[in-house]
Amino acid sequence: MDASSGISPGKALIAACSGCHHASNALHLPSLINLSSDVMREKLMAYKYDQITGTLMNRIAKGYTDEEIALIALTYSMQHATSLQNNSSNLNR
């Protein structure tokens, strides 16, 4: 992996998220791996402005500006694309 790919402001901003949203073995916590940038942004905005109710995502989403939420969503979707690329290049090797 190129050394610069993992150290962008977007990557730093999502560092904490994978403590809960990561592996597929979680039975109740949703995985974010297959969410598009738009869907994720809309969902986080809905939590932030209390249009939907979670257990703690409303509290967390309120800690971020709308711009930060857009960057979180974009970074997650790009991470998904990168991991797919990496997986396929591993398979081709």
Binding site: G6, I7, G19, H22, A23, A26, R59, I60, E68
Partner: protein, 424 residues
Amino acid sequence: MQRRQLNWSLLTLSSGSLPLLQTGCASRSKRRGHVVVIGGGFAGTTCARQLKKLDNHLEVTLIEARPTYTACPLSNLVVVGQRQLKAQNFNYSRLKDDEILVIHDHVIGVDPQKQRVVLNNGQSLGYDRLVVAPGVDIAWNQLSGYDEKAAQIMPHAWKAGPQTLLLQQQIASMKDGGLVLISAPENPFRCPPGPYERASLIAHYLKRYKPKSKLIILDAKDNFSKKPLFLEAWQKHYGDLIEWQGLSSGARVTQVNAASKEVLTDFDTFKADVINIVPPQRAGKIAEIAGCTNASGWCPIGASTFASQIQDKVYVLGDAAIANAMPKSAFSANAQAKLCAIQIVRNLQELPPINTKLINTCYSYVTPTQAISVADIYTPKENIWQPVAHAGGISQPNAGDLLQQLEAKYALDWFKVTTQEVFG
């Protein structure tokens, strides 16, 4: 400069460890530096693995004395027999797959000037950057009478392992009608809601198996994490089985007498059947050896980077660090470590640090099937981790059984996901 340090480390490692080190390295021309991480808990292990993920040309060494890590989160369930201690155990086998050199030994010296770490076996290794993540040590005798011998009679059970089982056995063998006493310390300490979660779960056990018993919490504080939610849950589930006494009522424990099983507060003396002392704590000894602690016993850091404010090229993570408003929790440690790894990689590439936000989330069980949470977002303002206003906080009061059952499921999931990320 970095190259020279690295050559030093190769020259002075004993021959026994050289083959390991070489298999763990990319070709020398691509190597970007050697990061040594001391401490294989949530903070240190996360950091070591993230460093390697971010830049696999980095040489990363993790030093951890014990081959098995016993995690603290969920260990209060072990205390009341709702979970096996072995479910808390993790090892470092996956780090070898990541080409991280894992050394199981004690660090007995750190020379920040020469950028070297000395191990108990006589080995010495150089570093370009050092990460210190030793967790907490019990500050023995800071509470008068509470030493290692006393802890065999009045367990702290604040490091998961034999102490957890000792407390479990004491509660299991206590007679019905007995008194359990928990002493909670002043801030800061590891796992701020921990004493109150423990009280909740012990009360649940007592109500079911030893209903004439009582539990008293003697607290050196008037406020504690998630207080309104704990008080609500205690009232609802346990009535007057739990009695909490705070600092203002003179409940600060000032002395213990293990032989007579007595606890002295500012105003009173308590005799109890089971006494659980959550003792005063400080940064793990390694932090002191590395010269990273201040008079408080904890380690001052630059908020964004976790770089030690005392030693150059040294970073401090997790419970040992003074992360201001961020609590000493496994979630914080894991989140801090991921950010710190980014900052170290950037620093080695002479890029400026990134100013960004972090999260802490922490679940506490109020019964074995119901939990409450606190979540906060932190921003490094004026070099201090401060909570973002109008965000975060504790679960809705009177949330009802369904929501609390859901939070209990999330608590278990959080443990699975995080330990998978850290050790899996």
